[in-house]
């Protein structure tokens, strides 16, 4: 009796302790097998879909990383859409004007950082409602880019894929993962960098404490205002990279309202990934995959599903997750509240 209940406790605790590793590894294995089967059946399409998944997920993960940095420090950023849009435009204009792609990327990131600073100024210094601060950024970016945009400009080119030596020659994995343009590589590197920053460094711990309990953080001598400023500005720069990705890497030109809701999907990605860089990356890949499949279906015309139904999926999934129907996603506790020093 005692021994059996003891072993029950043991098995329970084994599952309980390791389920966070077991479930993902089982899923990953299944996914891998599925990919290999599809690759054997139709190599060209499988490769195209996976490569497109990576491309589609890049702006989403960059936007989500911006959201994570801001929200972990307690600032709600619904202005990601606007930050992306204005940065896309400035990066494009820099490319038209100078033809220097590196300079254009930097200008895009700086634009995002500047808008991040505006958000920090409104929400930290002015203690304005953060949702309104974000909405101001969105309308402002839409208006400014629409007002200043002129048609008929040409650029000298866009960012090209850089094959990573011998890695790019591996079948399937090479072309999908190791033959990408620079911003895509940067995005993947940032995922891991930010994961380490947030959860393994003292600065990350400070950021999270500011987002969870600013009063306690302040008592410990952490500068709440400065932390919020830095995170929002760096986050803005990352959203700026997402904008630069759109005009310099993906499309090569600018159109009015070209972000087309990606900033809001990035919010969904952030929530879906539970405010966690690696989680958000997986979510971004999932949403990117849904988009890639949607394009593929339309292209092949095999299924008669209206593409709008596939377009709904990310949003509905996000509603389900925030409602706690499947795996609750909890935001940082002090989010959205301006901090008042006593």
């Amino acid at each position: 009796m005692t021994s059996s209940s003891l072993s029950q406790v043991k098995t329970y605790s084994f599952w309980y302790r390791y389920k966070r590793y077991i479930i993902p590894s089982v899923l990953a294995t299944l996914l891998l097998i599925a990919i290999i089967i599809f690759y054997r059946l139709n190599p060209a399409v499988t490769q195209a879909v996976l490569a497109s998944t990576i491309r589609q997920s890049t702006p989403l993960i960059l936007g989500a990383l911006c959201g994570i940095l801001c929200e972990r420090a307690g600032i709600v950023n619904i202005g990601i859409e606007g930050q992306m849009l204005l940065s896309a435009w400035t990066a494009y204009m820099m490319n038209v004007w100078s033809g220097n792609l590196l300079l254009s990327v930097i200008v895009g990131a700086l634009t995002g950082a500047l808008l991040g600073m505006l958000l920090a100024f409104t929400s930290v210094t002015l203690k304005l409602n953060q949702i309104i601060g974000g909405t101001v950024i969105n309308i402002l970016a839409l208006g400014l880019t629409g007002f200043l945009y002129q048609t008929g400009m040409t650029t000298k080119g866009k960012l090209q894929p850089i094959p990573l030596g011998g890695l790019a020659d591996i079948p399937l994995v090479g072309p999908v993962l190791f033959n990408n343009p620079p911003i895509t590589y940067t995005a993947i590197a940032l995922v891991f960098l930010l994961q380490i920053y947030l959860f393994m460094t003292p600065w990350g711990l400070r950021t999270r404490s500011v987002g969870e309990h600013p009063r306690a953080a302040d008592t410990l001598g952490i500068n709440v205002f400065r932390t919020r400023y830095i995170n929002t500005i760096v986050g803005g720069a990352i959203a700026g990279l997402a904008g630069a990705f759109l005009t310099l890497e993906a499309v090569g030109s600018f159109e009015r309202g070209m972000t087309n809701g990606r900033g809001f999907v990035a919010l969904a990605v952030m929530i879906f990934g539970k405010w966690n860089p690696i989680g958000a990356w997986l979510a971004a890949l999932l949403f990117g995959f849904a988009n890639a499949m949607q394009t593929q279906f339309q292209f092949m015309g095999t299924f008669d599903i209206p593409h709008q139904f596939i377009g709904i999926i990310p949003y509905v999934l996000t509603i389900i997750v925030v409602s706690g129907f499947v795996g609750r996603s909890r935001p940082p506790a002090a989010e959205g509240e301006p901090y008042e020093k006593e």
């Binding site: 002015l126 101001v136 400014l144």
Partner: protein, 368 residues
């Protein structure tokens, strides 16, 4: 002191109006000044642009009619956002509720035939309102019973609504008349179109009546009192025995109803069909309007008139002064910024905040 106030009552009444409009007024002027600077930098005379804008909005009966047409749905979306603010809810989803209202009213408008106008118009309006109300009910229930913050859920629902309406306008409800390749519904029947009295659309009058009604509900009824109490302090409301969860749901339902009617009015009074992309931004304009109107149902009317005039005048401005009309979005964003960052405005005009004119807004999704 008290004797003095009772003697000077009419003056005080005027003073309180002045106090509630001075901050929005200065915010509007600041936004226009910065807009003028942007115009100057891009080499356009701001005076010429603003004069053309004014002419395009009020210069003739035709223009005035257009301004009122544009204003009508804006009153409703402003009311929708302002109403939710009163219960401490931020309804970013007015856009989605409005889209569903617009397409539902279009469907009722083109599918039912041979009805008397009064019946057809009201049916389509009510149908649109109910669609919006249903779409407000979802985030309301989620907020009350799962704790999912309405800002997230309504942002997501906006995109769901865009997809649904795109699908309907390009699929089952598409205009099948020969030669049409665009995604849009057929034109609605003549009997569903909202008529005009002179240059004044009847919808505009309905909007004013409903604004007064909402003002009455919020200020003079038990329900309004409960909504405002929940907005000011949900814990106190709960402690006082109010059913806060039901009130939150009801608030979003009414807010959605108003936004839905706004969409219906746009369909029945301006566009006469549903076409994707025609109503973009109306819901977001509602946020600016609600805040310019200090979240008061009556304040929403002049605020909507201002934004409506800007929208209506934009064409003439573009044509006569050669200014891209997107500059008005920039000005609108600045208005939203200055009216909500009222400490800047107060610092400029050197007035302190008074508790009576304070606008309480919900904070964000970190809070439960």
């Amino acid at each position: 002191m008290t004797a003095e106030t009772s003697v000077k009552k009419p003056a005080n009444w005027l003073l309180s109006i002045w106090r509630s409009i001075r901050v929005p007024l200065v915010a509007i002027i600041l936004a226009l000044i910065i807009g003028a600077i942007i115009l100057l930098v891009t080499g356009v005379s701001p005076i010429k642009a603003y004069l053309a804008l004014f002419k395009g909005a009020f210069g003739s009966t035709k223009y005035l009619q257009r301004t009122l047409e544009k204003t009508t749905p804006l009153i409703f979306s402003g009311l929708a956002v302002a109403f939710a603010f009163k219960a401490g809810l931020f309804n970013i989803g007015a856009q989605g509720q409005l889209l569903l209202g617009a397409i539902t009213s279009a469907f009722i408008g083109f599918s039912l035939k041979g009805l008397p106008p009064v019946l057809h118009i009201s049916l389509a309006l009510i149908g649109g309102g109910l669609a919006g109300a249903f779409y407000g009910f979802i985030p309301g229930m989620l907020r009350s019973f799962t704790g999912a913050h309405e800002v997230i859920t309504t942002i997501m629902l906006n995109y769901v609504a865009i997809n649904i309406t795109d699908y309907l306008a390009d699929g089952p409800w598409k205009d099948t008349s020969p030669g049409n390749v665009v995604a849009m519904t057929p034109q609605i029947e003549q009997s569903a179109r909202i008529p005009f009295i002179g240059p004044v659309p009847v919808g505009f009058l309905i909007a004013i009546v409903i604004s007064v009604l909402i003002w009455y509900i919020l200020g003079k009824t038990n329900l309004g009192f409960e909504i405002r109490t929940v907005g000011l302090n949900p814990h106190a409301a709960k402690y006082a025995g109010m059913r806060t969860k039901m009130i939150l749901v009801l608030t979003l339902v009414i807010s959605g109803l108003l936004a839905g009617i706004g969409g219906a009015v746009e369909t029945q009074g301006v566009v006469y069909r549903y076409q994707p992309g025609f109503n973009t931004g109306l819901g977001f304009d509602g946020i600016t309007i609600a805040l310019l109107g200090r979240t008061s149902p009556l304040g929403v009317i002049p605020a909507a008139l201002l934004i409506g005039a800007m929208k209506a005048g934009s064409n003439v401005m573009q044509f006569e002064a050669g200014v891209a009309k997107e500059i008005l979005d920039v000005i609108q964003a600045l208005m939203l910024f200055f009216v909500s960052a009222d400490m800047i405005v107060r610092w400029i005009i050197r007035v302190r905040k008074e508790s009576a004119e304070e606008v309480t807004l919900t904070t964000s999704w970190g809070q439960k």
